[in-house]
Every structure is written in C-alpha cells, then in structure tokens.
C-alpha cells in the first residue's frame, strides 16, 4: 500500500465492487484547521464548555437534518413528523459523533465530518420510512414497467420489443436468484436501494455490489447478442 506525500496523492489500493480492486483514501491524517481544533478541544473538555459545544452541535445537526428531509422531498414528510425525524436523526448522529471523536483525522473540516453522520442517519431513516406505505410489494414482478423505466417510446414498440425480450431472457438466464431479486426490486418495482437492503437484512454496499454485477452480466449478454455496443473502455 502506498501513501503519497501530501493530501493530494491517492492512498492505498484495495477491494471494491467491480472485477478489479480499487481503494481510494486520503494519504494520511492531517492537522485540523483552527475551527475544527476548537470544536475538538471543547468537546473533549468537561463542564459548561462541553455542554455548550454539544448544544451548538445538536442545533447544527437538527438544522441539517430538517433541511435534508425537505430537500429529498420524495416521501412528502412535513410538520411534526418532519420534526420528529429530524430530532431523532440529530440525536443518533450526536451519539455517534461523540463516541467516534477519536476517529476524526483532520482530513476535512470537523463540521463536514459531523454533518456526514446526520446525512447518513436521515438516509437510513427515510429507507425505513418507505416500508410504512410501499407503493409496490417486494415480490411483485410486472415486466410491463420496464419500457417506461428506460424511456422506451410506446409508439416505437416494434423497435424495442425484441430488445425487451432479450433483457428478460438475460435476467432469467444470466443472473443468480439473488441478483435477479435485486434487479426486479430496484428496476421493475422501483424500490429504493436502502429500503431493499433493510428488507433483505443486508446493507447498501452488498446490494449495490449485487446490482453492479447484475448490470455487468446483462450488458455483456446484450452486447454478445448485438443489442448494445461492447463496453471496451469500461468507463462512463
């Protein structure tokens, strides 16, 4: 594992999702900027200084959580429900932040690092919220939705009918049962990836990896049959 000199260089290389191993991380811990150092000093303190810093941080997290739920908008959460979700996300994030203070390496501003916790809490809570009123059950399988999902024009059905049949064949023949389940849930049923991860007692990374492999297999099958061009470079 290499660690270049300075923050600008890439760090180590390790495993990931594709068929190749990649890992990018900052080269080394950096000295925190003055404001971040002040946050750390006050939070590590005891007594009124720490209490004041915790209250200020909590206020920041609530503001960010509320704005983030509103920004995402998808589930139309508002009023007391929005407040409740924002306060829960902020409280959980604050707990995580204070228990992980020692893991802050000064690679970013402290507030950016802290805000990440509340953004991820909001993300997770919205994933759970999805299953309160799911639009489609997990095991539904309506292939008529596929043309719409990929913007196929109904007026041009004669052109894409064969392609659609080829996609379906590739899904049936090329994917493992688990990959197929993930493809159907996310692509046909439009279930959010985080919500699916919860339902399958899995995690975002594992579901993404499964879908990544499914996409690669499907593309290869469609390219082999002349429906798509071969992905020579592999980069988007």
């Amino acid at each position: 594992m290499s660690a270049g000199a300075g923050v600008a260089s890439l760090g180590s290389i390790m495993m990931v999702s594709g068929n190749r191993t990649v890992h990018e991380s900052p080269a080394a811990a950096a000295r925190p900027d003055a404001e971040s150092a002040e946050w750390l000093r006050r939070l590590a303190d005891s007594g009124p200084q720490r209490e004041a810093a915790l209250a200020r941080l909590h206020g920041l997290l609530v503001r960010i959580a509320r704005a983030e739920v509103t920004r995402r908008g998808r589930l139309a959460i508002s009023g007391p429900e929005l407040d409740d979700l924002a306060y829960q996300a902020a409280a959980d994030a604050l707990l995580a932040i204070t228990s992980k203070l020692g893991q802050f390496r000064g690679e970013s501003r402290f507030t950016t690092w802290a805000c990440k916790f509340v953004i991820l809490e909001v993300s997770a809570k919205l994933g759970r919220h999805f299953w309160r009123h799911p639009a489609v059950p997990l095991d539904a399988e309506d292939w008529d939705r596929l043309p719409g999902r990929f913007g196929f024009d109904p007026a041009q059905e004669a052109e894409w009918r064969d392609l659609l049949a080829a996609v379906r064949r590739a899904v049936d023949d090329e994917l493992t049962p688990r990959q197929r389940q993930v493809f159907v849930a996310i692509v046909l049923n439009n279930i959010p990836l985080d919500a699916l991860a919860l339902e399958l007692a899995s995690n975002r990374n594992a579901i993404y990896k499964m879908l990544f492999d499914a996409r690669r297999k499907l593309r290869a099958a469609l390219a082999a049959n002349g429906y798509l061009s071969h992905d020579i470079a592999g980069h988007s």
């Binding site: 990018e24 991380s25 704005a67 993300s123 996609v167 061009s229």
Partner: protein, 73 residues
Amino acid sequence: MNGWPELDRFLRTDPRDVGCAQAMDMLHVYVDLVVAGAPVEERYPGVAAHLRACGPCGEDFEGLLAAVRGEAH
C-alpha cells in the same frame, strides 16, 4: 452506438467504482474538496465514478454538499 441511451447508461459499469463503503468513508473529504474547487474527480476517480452510478450515495453526496454550502452562507 445504440438507440437505447437510458438502458445503456444503466448497464454501463465503471471498473474504477469503489463501492458504497469506500465512497461513504471518503465523503466528508470529497465534499470539502469539491467546495474548495479542487480537481476532485482526478484525485478520487473511483469515488467520483461511484457517486455518479449509485443513487443513494449520490443523494448523500448532494445532501452533504448542500449542508456544507448552506452552513457556509
């Protein structure tokens, strides 16, 4: 070339893609670099590739970026 751009885009995978776990580990660093105007896609191409391809991680990135920019003003 093919006539199915959305399907093509969805099925196209980038071998540099670092996956969700690595991208989320790096997210705060990545966002601060974006805010600072650094050439972040060159510095972290695998994270950039992932954030383009993964809806939930892309959403978290947009959320953190909005939060940092909002708090700065």
